[in-house]
């Protein structure tokens, strides 16, 4: 356990730290771009679904970034500690950061007199962030290209914005704005599957290369 704690500490310092900083900055500038005071349920859902959930892409996509350099990847794979364990530690760290950031943002919205169903919107936002981030992780593990890893969730988001509910159906990102939470269950489950699948692909690539 101590070993994984050290891995998480190193990841926070060298890999996650800049992305965490960008995420915090991204959330902090939101009052300059949109209203975060006296919002009703629909308006709050809009802010959380269309803006805050994007933090998932920033936090999860760079999970494999340290291994982008082939020499570093060869080195980590030669170590006694399994690379899969390292990836799981990084993902858990990203999840903790996501839960905390969204949680703090929700509290802040409440403090700003927004009226909304707290638990539903909180969990719904995390589900969407997990889905978008997980999609990036899978894309990264398959393509080994960070650009593709960012591209796919962003294009998915774009399609959802451009009236994609007709095509995305149960995987539509902005359902809470319409008062529906069922889609978030699909997104959460798929998001977790994506993350596991992403690590699984990396494991298989290592094992069978």
């Amino acid at each position: 356990m101590e070993r994984y704690y050290q891995i998480a500490k190193a990841n926070l310092k060298f890999n996650l730290y800049p992305h965490l900083l960008i995420s915090i900055l991204f959330l902090c500038i939101s009052p300059l771009l949109m209203g975060v005071e006296n919002l009703d349920g629909v308006r709050t859902a809009q802010v959380l679904e269309m803006y805050v959930a994007l933090v998932g892409i920033i936090l999860f996509v760079p999970i494999f970034y340290p291994e982008q350099d082939k020499d570093i990847r060869d080195l980590t794979e030669a170590k006694f500690t399994s690379a899969t364990g390292v990836y799981v530690a990084r993902i858990l760290e990203a999840v903790i950061c996501l839960v905390l950031l969204v949680g703090i943002y929700i509290v802040w919205l409440k403090y700003n007199h927004c009226v909304f169903p707290v638990h539903e919107l909180y969990l719904g936002t995390i589900a969407e962030a997990l889905f978008l981030g997980g999609m990036g992780v899978v894309a990264y593990s398959i393509s080994d290209q960070i650009a593709i890893a960012y591209m796919l969730p962003m294009v998915y988001y774009m399609m959802a914005i451009s009236g994609g509910s007709k095509y995305l159906k149960s995987f539509y990102l902005f359902s809470m704005m319409r008062g529906s939470y069922e889609e978030k269950v699909y997104l959460a489950v798929t998001g977790v599957v994506f993350l596991l699948f992403g690590i699984g692909i990396r494991y298989c690539c290592r094992r069978f290369k």
Binding site: L32, L33, M34, E37, M50, I148
Partner: protein
Amino acid sequence: MFVQLFFKECRQILKCLTYYVLLICMIAFFNSQIGEFQIYERPQPGQEDYGIMYSEDETVIMKTTVGRLAMEFFNNKFISYPIGFYKQVILSGNKYEKMSEIVSEVTGMPEKELKQLVENYLSTVSLYTGSITITTPESLTYERFLKLMKQADKLIGGGSNYSKTFMKSNARVPKTYETALAEYEEIIQKDQVSGAYARLFCDYMGIILAILPVFLAVTRHLRDRRAKISEVFYSRSISSAAVILSRYLSMLAMLLLPVLLLSISPTIQCIVYGNSIHASVDQLAFLKYIFGWLMPTIMVSISVGVFFTEITETAIAILIQGIWWFVSIFTGAVNINGGYDWNFVPRHNTLGDYATYIDNFHILAINRIAYTIIAILLILASIYVYDKKRRGELIARGKILPNRKSKSKI
């Protein structure tokens, strides 16, 4: 030499996985948004509905806008959409006083009397659905009204219902048969059928082309670093300008190519439709619009990718372009049916409306030229950075502060 390098770069792009993923995304987006091209049929007399239009009548605009202002002032809750997201502004102190003066002037009533009027109105409606209509004083000219609304919008912080863009949309009226027919005739005669569809094509494709090229640019420029061949390139005799420009132009060409291919299908549909109603069709309309409207967008997106990847050797360009895209799209959403302004992604999300296009053409032209200049400047800066790196300076290797450790005090 340059031409050889250009074609070599094109071949490299064809071997790049990102390019194919990008193509799939582009095609998927095209199909989901404009795959089913609907031909605008000639309106028939006696139709139930001809759609909605925005009234140009100054009296209607003044009445509806002042009514809305009176309601928001009564509640002291002013709605604005600075970047397309809802924002509620509560005024206090000096700003509230100034707003009170504006409201009194446009309604011709002192604050107390106006509040009483709104209160009486609200007591008569069980569920508030519309806005109160207030006739403005006869002495108030339209020019003075516009000036006051500009001040009100400034007090709220911009993007309010009293901004130039929103004021027009306050005055929504149903379209008549005559108006609908005139619009149809404009599409057939002035737009020569294909012009109207080309604008709609550019509107949708602009959304995705404002972001996708940056991914290709980042991948292409990070590839050298990953393959550890940057130094090999640095030592070549070819000029830095030739290296960067050949890459840049090859990416531009390879991105324009699928856009041009995607435009073939709607062009053919327009030609077929034009022939069926014996109307002349501008067969080059899509080509003209793509080069004039979409190319500057692609150029900027690639330039951002090239410049920031070259200077930082990280994928930060994606984040920068992503934020720019996000702000542009949501800001543009309030002006979705034309108007253009300075937005990076100009919108014209309506079929036809030739009048808006032609009235604002100069704004659109300035917008597109300005973004082309930005793209060129960024590329020149990239050449400068690349040249410096070849001389052993500005090498970042993914660090924010380049060459930090090399500055030894010994």
